[in-house]
Amino acid sequence: MTGQSSKVVLITGATRGIGRAIAERFLKEGCRLVLVYRSNKMEAAETEKILKKLDADALILQSDLTDSVACRYVVDRTVNHFGQLDILVNNAGTTYDGAFVVMRSEEYELLIRGNICAPILLSLYAAPHLITSAKAGYNSTIVMMSSMAGVTGKEGQVPYSTTKGALIGATRLLARHFGHLGVRVNALAPGFICTDMVKGLDSKMYNHVLKASASPRMGEPHEVASAAWFLASNASSYINGQVHRIDGGFMR
């Protein structure tokens, strides 16, 4: 453990893929967890089972974070349950892919709410608690989950990449605002990670990823979780407002 024991961590999108890997990593480091999921009850039940087995001090909440009321609720519930909140991991995100010219705004309206409005709202609602934690001498942080699509752009993912780019801007803005209060805000931009989101990748694209990467393989969720842990821990205490690419050296 590296000084984060018993910290309270709120993780969104936490019952699958990268989110679950982050939850497992933070648990291993001795944190208390609040895990938020949107809809998949089976995955939530599976996660709960694992947590029980590990005798974890954790709370699992079902919540649709595209609703602003829900954002406030999960933060309030976290603080009511544990009495504090030290780290926020804004991991939840969805994608809506396809040819942009035939998309209608209504089709990606919720994507914008979930991928950019929710992380900002959660950060704002969590901020007073994070500041309290920082004042108590803890290393309070917010970790945003952007994407390589937000850094380099991606065909077929115009609205998704837009929201992930917006999240990079939000990271800069929030870091500047809360930095002097002791709260750091950083973002991760994962590339091709073995999750449900990239399972549909065709072999042509997969081969392109391998050829274009300095590390010719797909990434694993636990590798993103390690980076999230680094950003949330004291080991990164002088890193603020940055975006870190976790992409195996993908060269576009």
């Binding site: 942009f100 705004s105 950019i116 900002i120 380099t152 990449s161 780019g165 917006a166 801007g169």
Partner: protein, 220 residues
């Protein structure tokens, strides 16, 4: 000389306004879509637009965030503002792309103001919208650049005219992050470059071009 029509989403910002004026001065047509029902509406009435320009955001996200952080009941107002701007921007990008695809040519240009220098000078900063635009433009370029449309984002440092004399004086040390003995460029310097970009050969597509004196970076 053929009439080249540029459609501007609005003329609220100094760069957007100066570019529209300069475009018109060349004998071309500049339309402020905000006075004519919006970009999509204007595009339905113009058969061959030369391009669409998204002018710099003048919404101060830092001020909105500051208010929201002080009074959490305003947090939703802040995110609704972001939501609305992104929805509008994407809808306008789609309308522009649809209009220019059959022509196999056209420009989509997103203007932004560098938020680091803007912050130092006490001007509005919009990093969220700037980065959203930058990422969208890159994706659009990858997806529709093959249709002959060029999509670019240009990030300009604040021009000399945008900052007060006193602000430039007090920010002299801070501007050393760009260059020693930093001198701001005039609005006309930026506009000359933008005119050349919009009216000359298209050598850039999908670019995030930073204009100004000294070393500038935007994001990762």
């Amino acid at each position: 000389m053929p009439m080249k029509t540029l459609i501007f989403d609005n003329l609220d910002g100094a760069f957007g306004k100066a570019l529209a004026d300069a475009w018109a001065k060349q004998g071309y047509c500049a339309i402020d879509a905000s006075t004519k029902g919006g970009v999509a509406s204007v595009l339905t009435e113009i058969s061959a637009p030369h391009g669409v320009v998204f002018t710099e955001s003048v919404i101060d996200e830092a001020a909105l965030l500051s208010k929201a952080a002080t009074d959490l009941d305003l947090a939703v107002d802040f995110t609704e503002s972001i939501h609305q701007q992104i929805i509008e921007f994407l809808a306008n990008c789609r309308a522009a792309t649809q209009a220019m695809m059959p022509l196999k040519k056209g420009h989509v240009l997103a203007l932004c103001v560098d938020d680091v220098a803007a912050r130092v000078l006490g001007l509005p900063v919009s990093p969220i919208i700037n980065h959203a635009r930058g990422s969208a433009i890159k994706s659009l370029s990858k997806e529709y650049g093959r249709m002959g449309i060029s999509y670019n984002t240009v990030v300009c440092q604040p021009s000399q005219e945008m900052g007060k004399k006193s602000a430039w004086r007090t920010s002299r040390d801070a501007m050393k992050v760009y260059a020693l003995r930093y001198k701001p460029m005039k609005t006309s310097d930026f506009i000359s470059y933008l005119l050349a970009m919009l009216d000359g050969p298209t050598a850039v597509n999908g670019g995030l071009i930073c204009l100004g004196n000294g070393v500038m970076e935007m994001g990762p």
